[in-house]
Symmetry: C2
Subunit: 404 residues, 2 copies
């Protein structure tokens, strides 16, 4: 292929790493690379729970795209409206792009499974601005509570729907943050409730039971309440209703954070790709089964784990690994060489429980908790930054507060 | 080759990593591996300056051999007396071993260049016990000074000969440790002198000038005196004599630490190997030029840097990289495959200036100083432990005090 147009949609983990890998491996005359993203920054989705709780500033969570892509890459700040794979075109809000090779990395959106009121009344941890909104909303409510004559206890009840990864990491941050807010606004800490509602019999389903127990103990000792085996029924402006053991319970709250469901960006399905659960079940070389010049990466791609015949969960780790394969295969296509197959190599899973505690498994054999897990988690965050933008970026945006 | 006897002499960086690599890559029936070392532990030569200053406990610096080698490896605790390469034999103090393949990793010994009195009166940072002796000697002298009626100022003058890597890292640790000792023994800090004597016009010769300046400023601000362009002339029991600008100066001291010269273990030369500056100039596959079944690794091996036609300095980094090639080539020899050539890939050089400051260059482009350099230095120490003995060893013996 002679100087093909490569268009990458989305600057999440999959999209930005594909771009950075390509700008390293391709020369200026090998391809014309264009990255499209609605913001002029990449952000760390896996850090949003910290931004939302207010334990890190949102500027640490986001990285200007110009800091990591160089002049080999054209950057278009725009939103994708539709992909027309039969015409090799992408419709943007403010224009249209044609491509020879396309990479779809459009990420996720929240899924509310039709639970009444969630869409309107719950907060979501989906992007920098929705996370900032949670932070501001919490502070605002604590400020109002402090000042109002007739205290509204709904301001101090924080309900988090979902005890998966995001939900647990978020309540962990809240457990660190709430005591600070209470001190700031002179509020008795014991009046605040952090309530985690999870449908399964346990939080962090799929995790090692000993680590789940450690996580729950750590969080409960810092004031988190768990309500497991409970389904959210309705989210109202001033309360939430859940059902447990056949009984419905209503908790007054002005803050419900929904962290229990994501789905692939619906543009993918709307653009006519063949999908499975809203995602493109990619071939082993990461291409869409029906279009040989379209790669799909990250949360929009579905890959089956051959060990248990279930899809790999959508994580930053798998997106970053996929980006290597996608970049490699784009280069191979351009040079007329053979494409390689993607193979996921799990480096482990670590869930933070606030800034000074965590649990997880690394290298497929070491169970970790406490400071060792926190250390490995922060080091893995730093390693990503090193990969993305070198030592300079790592020291600028990394996490070095290992033990405070 | 059918189940050959592989004997590795020395459990320094080169020897222990060769052993660990071999036990990973070879099966029990591929070879009979024997490691010989005079102690039942491996120690981190690059941490000895900390052990000597007393800023870390010697047990953090050493690692029991049984913690990192498994039952595939026979361990013999003994001292090597002589190698008989023509007979494929090694003479030990308490026995004799025959081998099919030999790895010589016998490390360094101090070189005093015939300076009178050094051998008898100076301390050396060569192994765990010589480092512990310095620590004890320092404490003993501070204790005596505190208690003696007629104060002997020679007890409070510490002279370090050599402003290379070891000398600078050692005075950096002293600059941290001395104030603690002064407080402990109720001694006025301003009475203590830490004097670094270096023959070259500058310390850390070969380092980037801006980083050298940073290092000297950092150390001087913490009380270190530098006397550069000065040659040690004599080391007496209660003083040291140096010559600078044609004038001789005598400094009363009970503590001279010689950190200016190392040479390869003299057993190598005495055993009849063809040597260059006391080392074996190995072939590109790390074998001795005159014996096809003898590999030499670490400080006993000499390899020319093709860029400047000078030998690579003997460092832990190069020894660890050589160990990969040696282990690979031993396996290749056993399986009748082709041997690979060693190629040194510099990951950078970092010199610590005490536990909370450092200078250096990493990835061949980033100049670092201050906390970033300290962080990278400690992470590189941790990475070695991870390589040597896994996550368990890293967390047990690693350095995690990044910022205090």
């Amino acid at each position: 292929m002679n100087n093909p147009k490569v268009v990458i949609l989305g600057a999440g983990y999959g999209g930005i790493m594909t771009t950075v890998n390509l700008q390293k491996s391709l020369g200026v005359n090998d391809a014309n690379i264009t990255l499209v993203n609605k913001n002029d920054y990449h952000y760390q989705t896996t850090w949003l729970h910290e931004t939302a709780a207010g334990t890190i500033h949102h500027d640490q969570t986001r990285i200007p795209i110009k800091d990591v892509v160089n002049s080999k890459v054209n950057f278009v700040q725009d939103s994708v409206v539709e992909i027309k794979p039969d015409e090799n075109k992408v419709v943007l809000e403010n224009g249209e792009l044609s491509y020879d090779i396309l990479v779809v990395g459009l990420g996720f959106e929240s899924a509310t499974f039709g639970i009444p009121g969630l869409e309107e009344n719950a907060f979501m941890i989906s992007n920098i601005n929705s996370a900032r909104l949670i932070r501001e909303h919490l502070e605002h409510n604590f400020a109002l509570y402090h000042n109002e004559e007739e205290k509204n206890p709904a301001r101090l009840n924080i309900v988090v729907g979902g005890g998966g990864f995001t939900g647990i990491e978020f309540v962990g941050e809240l457990a660190n943050r709430i005591p600070e807010l209470c001190e700031e606004y002179d509020i008795d800490k014991s009046l605040v409730r952090i309530i985690n509602v999870e449908g399964s019999p346990t939080v962090l389903p799929g995790f090692d039971p000993a680590l789940v127990e450690y996580a729950m103990n750590s969080l409960e000792s810092r004031g988190v309440e768990f309500i497991t085996g409970a389904m959210l029924k309705e989210c109202k402006p001033e309360s939430i209703v859940y059902e447990k053991d056949g009984k419905q319970v209503e908790v007054p709250t002005k803050t419900t954070v929904w962290a229990a469901g994501v789905k692939a960006n619906s543009i993918v399905e709307q653009s006519g790709f063949q999908t499975n659960r809203g995602k493109v079940e990619v071939k082993s070389d990461m291409r869409a089964p029906d279009y040989d010049n379209v790669f799909v990466v990250g949360d929009c791609a579905l890959i089956m784990n051959p060990e248990n015949e279930r899809p790999y969960p959508p994580t930053a780790q798998i997106a970053i690994q996929q980006a290597s394969t996608v970049a490699h295969n784009i280069k191979a296509m351009i040079q007329g060489q053979e494409l390689e197959s993607f193979e996921f190599i799990s480096q482990g899973t670590l869930a933070s429980l606030g800034h000074n505690d965590a649990v997880g498994v690394v290298f497929n054999k070491y169970k970790l908790f406490g400071w060792k897990a926190t250390f490995m988690k922060k080091m893995s965050d730093n390693r990503y930054l090193l990969k993305l933008g070198g030592l300079g970026l790592m020291f600028k945006k990394g996490k070095f507060n290992f033990f405070y």
